[in-house]
């Protein structure tokens, strides 16, 4: 068996379906538009309602939702943050939290990769493909040039992975800019191309297949000097590597890029109103290419973190089983495309993934096999509720007099109530 995501469920069957996100015509526009207020009430309510509904699912299977959530929380290692956790509990929690944060790092990057596109009015559903080409570039670079000094080697591998992701997504951006091809379609198609490219490269007889094990569809190992240093926990037991800081740094860069840079300003202008952007002299097509390339760079970097941090090689069934990037969409939606929100949402989903894993969840409370599906259920509910945030706000506004302005002509000067709250 090849590498398995730390504490994560066994790879699900090959992805035969893309994530189920309703692509109503106004979806991306709404995602672009609703982010301006940066409100925290709606995402918080979304989480509460999603967990509540997830609890109903747990109850329907005949288990106690509260003790199940408690066990998931324990499995995530988050109780390490409480000072009263001590003794052996604290050691276990530390290991679990390391696992959670190992997932959180790439999830932050994948969430940003979706969020930046949303801000420019694009839907990057191709995080998966960009992540895969990033991992391929990283594993190739990291397993070659054995004699290179470690730091240079690591950075080179990460830069190559970033460039590969940027190129991959840039293709979709260029297609959108030049031919008007919808990036939703092209990024999905490039996902499949990336998957089969990886299967070919690392499959039996493939050009990058392991030299020493001709019978295993797996890549060469990353040389030791090119691995990301572990700073917390045991390096041999998938301790926490410094990639989490790379991800946090990327979130800071993302904030500056989006809010303080001319390129981010152009991206937001294009996202809100491409026609006004064009009229102002902003080159809309070029902005599409740049935005997509930036997103791809983030997703590619995420791939390199996993490869250089704990996987150290790629097997063909890893590539086919990668679902992390789709979780990135939920992260971006829940995090409202903001830097801080994305980090928090990534932590929540990282905790959920690890808290429900076979390794971390107490089977006496809830069978991990079922619990893994709970992650998917909650992921789905989050996407559903964020997309249908009107529902959430309805709950919030329930006792208030609601004013649904029908058509612009009827709207008062205060605008739409729902948007004000969001």
């Amino acid at each position: 068996m090849s590498s398995v995501r730390p504490g994560a469920p066994a790879p699900p069957p090959p992805p035969d379906g893309q994530p189920e996100i309703a692509l109503s015509p106004g979806f991306v526009a709404r995602m672009t538009g609703q982010m301006r207020a940066g409100g925290w009430i709606a995402p918080l309510l979304t989480v509460v309602v999603a967990f509540f509904m997830g609890g109903l699912v747990v109850a329907a299977t005949g288990h106690n939702p509260l003790s199940t959530y408690k066990a998931i929380f324990d499995g995530s290692g988050l109780q390490w943050l409480f000072p009263w956790t001590s003794g052996p509990d604290r050691d276990t929690a530390a290991i679990n939290l390391q696992q959670t944060l190992l997932t959180t790092g790439p999830l932050i990057l994948l969430g940003l990769a979706v969020g930046y596109a949303f801000r420019a009015g694009l839907f990057n559903i191709g995080g998966q493909g960009q992540y895969i080409v990033g991992s391929i570039a990283a594993v190739w670079a990291g397993s070659s040039w054995a004699g290179m000094p470690g730091w240079i080697h690591v950075i080179l591998a990460m830069v190559l992975a970033t460039a590969a992701g940027a190129t991959w997504a840039g293709i979709s951006g260029a297609l959108r800019a030049i031919t008007g091809a919808n990036e939703v379609i092209t990024t999905i198609m490039l996902n499949w191309i990336a998957i089969w490219l990886g299967v070919y490269l690392f499959g039996l007889g493939g050009p990058l297949q392991n030299n020493a094990q001709p019978d295993v569809p797996i890549s060469n190992d990353i040389v030791h000097s090119a691995r990301l240093p572990v700073f917390w926990g045991d390096a041999d037991l998938q301790g926490l590597h410094i990639g989490i800081f790379v991800a946090l740094a990327a979130a800071v860069v993302y904030w500056v890029l989006l809010n303080r840079s001319t390129k981010g300003y152009e991206a937001r202008a294009v996202g809100f109103n491409p026609e006004a952007a064009r009229y102002s002299g902003i080159r809309v097509g070029r902005t599409y290419v740049l935005v997509m390339a930036t997103c791809g760079a983030l997703a590619g970097l995420a791939g390199s973190l996993d490869v250089l941090g704990w996987q150290f090689h790629i097997a063909t069934n890893d590539i086919q089983g990668t679902q992390l990037a789709f979780l990135g969409i939920a992260v971006a939606l829940l995090g409202r495309n903001t830097a801080l929100g994305t980090c928090l949402a990534a932590l929540m989903f990282g905790a959920l993934v690890n808290g429900t894993s076979v390794r971390n969840l107490d089977p006496a409370v809830f069978e991990p096999e079922l619990a893994q599906n709970l992650t998917t259920v909650i992921q789905g509910l989050v996407v559903l509720f964020v997309s249908a945030d009107v529902l959430i706000l309805l709950i919030y506004n329930k006792l208030r007099p609601r004013r649904r302005a029908r058509g612009g002509g009827a709207a008062g000067p205060a605008g739409d109530t729902i948007e004000v709250v969001a």
Binding site: R260, T262, Y279, R283
Partner: protein, 513 residues
């Protein structure tokens, strides 16, 4: 003007002390309104005066914080549009609530479909449409698709639908905003006929002449308060404008004759196609001199939009040359056109002129956000300072530099666009429908400013569908018809002279002023 208790029975609708707040903003402040049975009552006010809010209260879309609504003398509460309909209140919105792919008859019965054996009775729907159409003299074709009929026709469908639901009180929100002059005249006829048949009508508008033309009485709102109700019989433009704006308004600004200098903007036999690839601008030649306003008059859709786009680099020029100050700027990018000195007050401020979700400082920086930047980082401080200065200079009200553009009234939004374009210090300024949808106070401001910019030596090319505006501002008028300049007239030209040229029946009198 004072409420007469004896007359309560003859009031179809009465509002007493309606107050509606949105957060810190009081949109309606103790507003009173008395609608008599069988009258056309105009609700007049500037953009943002609270007219639409008041009517959304009547139609059950907003619940008033204080005040009473009386229908036929009885106090009622209206919590939803459906309740409003049940009480005989019908509403026609500025943006129609029609489904374009369905027929007129299907749209008309939508929400109250006739059934036969549990199935939709289309024949019944058609019959009902025809009956209504005959009874009220509103001609519509029941079988036409809504997307195929004119805007005026669509509005009739809306009116008929309200009548079909039993509306005794009909509220029309800025019904003429989307209509041509001809359609507006037809609508006035329709409303008079409905009034004579006993329907009570509230007519929301900010256009003075419509009030005088159509309404029997008028209630004026200003900043959410009732200023007064008067009979239109004794009122005139000036008195209504004073009530509406709160001061004397110059309805037609005085202008000195221009002192034109060298030609700055020159078009030489330019051509362009429309979005479908058909010729739209077909060999236009004209020039605008420094310190001169040249107005392009014409009926909408005769190539004006394409000509604007062509000059500002938003549409390819398929033939001919555009020169600015002697420099060829044909087919340059929008940014290069701006850098060369073209300013452009966009025709549609929502679609083009503004990013509504950006705040005012971001909107005002749309052309110069790169100024003074280093390492590709914005200068938010500079943007905010510049915005404060411009908002003050152009008297933009209702917002600070960090207010979203969306929350400003139309007039103030337009001032933001104008402030930005003028602050770019362009040699030539294209002003496309610069006062569309603005009230008289804002129009006066825009007109004064454009004349001031003319006197400062800019070359201004004005596109307008309003002949009054064209005459008020222009030093020369050129008429565009079917993508060609068919004549040039002085600003003293009469409606008839202009009209003949605009409809293509003029004798191509090309003369210089």
């Amino acid at each position: 003007m004072s409420p007469q208790n004896a007359g309560a029975a003859e009031l179809a609708l009465e509002l007493r002390g309606i107050t509606k707040r949105f957060g810190a903003l009081t949109a309606n402040d103790a507003v009173d309104l008395q609608l008599r049975r069988g009258e056309i009552h105009a609700l007049l006010g500037e953009n943002g005066a609270g007219k639409s809010t008041l009517m959304s209260v009547v139609y059950g879309m907003a619940r008033p914080d204080e005040g009473e609504i009386l229908i036929d003398g009885e106090p009622v509460t209206i919590d939803s549009p459906r309740e409003a309909m049940d009480r005989g209140v019908g509403m026609v919105f500025q943006h129609f609530m029609l489904i374009p792919v369905m027929t007129v008859a299907e749209n008309l019965v939508l929400g109250a479909e006739p059934r036969k054996h549990g199935l939709l009775d289309l024949a019944g729907a058609r019959r009902r449409t025809r009956e209504l159409s005959d009874r009220y003299g509103l001609k519509v074709d029941p079988d036409a698709r809504v997307s195929d009929v004119s805007v005026g026709q669509q509005q009739r469908v809306e009116i008929l639908r309200a009548l079909d639901r039993g509306a005794k009180i009909l509220v029309l929100d800025e019904p003429t905003a989307v209509l041509t002059a001809q359609e507006t005249a037809e609508l006035a006829e329709v409303l008079r006929a409905l009034r004579d048949a006993g329907t009570s009508i509230v007519f929301i508008t900010h256009k003075l002449h419509e009030v005088l033309d159509v309404a029997d009485r008028v209630t004026v709102l200003r900043r959410g308060k009732t200023i007064g109700t008067v009979d239109t019989a004794g009122a005139d433009d000036a008195s209504l404008a004073r009530m509406m704006v709160g001061r004397d308004v110059v309805l037609r600004v005085e202008k000195e004759p221009g002192k034109p200098g060298q030609p700055l903007l020159e078009l030489d036999d330019v051509h362009a196609t429309d979005d479908r690839g058909l010729p739209a601008v077909d060999g236009v030649s004209l020039h605008v001199r420094a310190g001169e306003i040249v107005a392009v008059a014409g009926i909408d859709g005769n190539g004006q939009s394409e000509l604007i786009d062509l000059i500002s680099g938003l549409r390819p020029c398929t033939g001919g040359h555009v020169r600015l100050g002697g420099k060829d700027i044909t087919n340059c990018t929008p940014r290069a056109a701006r850098d060369a000195g073209i300013g452009h007050i966009a025709e549609d401020r929502h679609r083009r002129g503004l990013v509504l979700d950006f705040n005012l400082s971001e909107n005002l920086a749309l052309m110069d956000y790169r100024e003074g930047t280093r390492f590709g980082l914005l200068k938010p401080r500079r943007m905010l300072d510049a915005a404060s200065r411009l908002l003050h200079e152009f008297d933009v009200r209702g917002g600070s530099p960090v207010t979203p553009a969306r929350s400003l009234s139309g007039g103030n939004q337009q001032k933001v666009v104008i402030a930005r374009e003028i602050s770019g210090n362009p040699d030539a300024l294209i002003a496309a429908q610069p006062t569309r949808g603005l009230d008289v106070g804002a129009i006066e401001f825009v007109h004064r400013r454009l004349l001031a910019e003319r006197d400062a030596g800019r070359a201004i090319l004005l596109f307008s569908l309003e002949l009054d505006e064209v005459r008020a501002l222009a030093d020369r008028i050129v008429v565009i018809y079917d993508g060609r300049i068919v004549g040039e007239l002085p600003p003293t030209a009469s409606d008839e002279e202009l009209g003949l040229l605009m409809t293509g029946s003029g004798a191509g009198r090309v003369a210089s002023s």
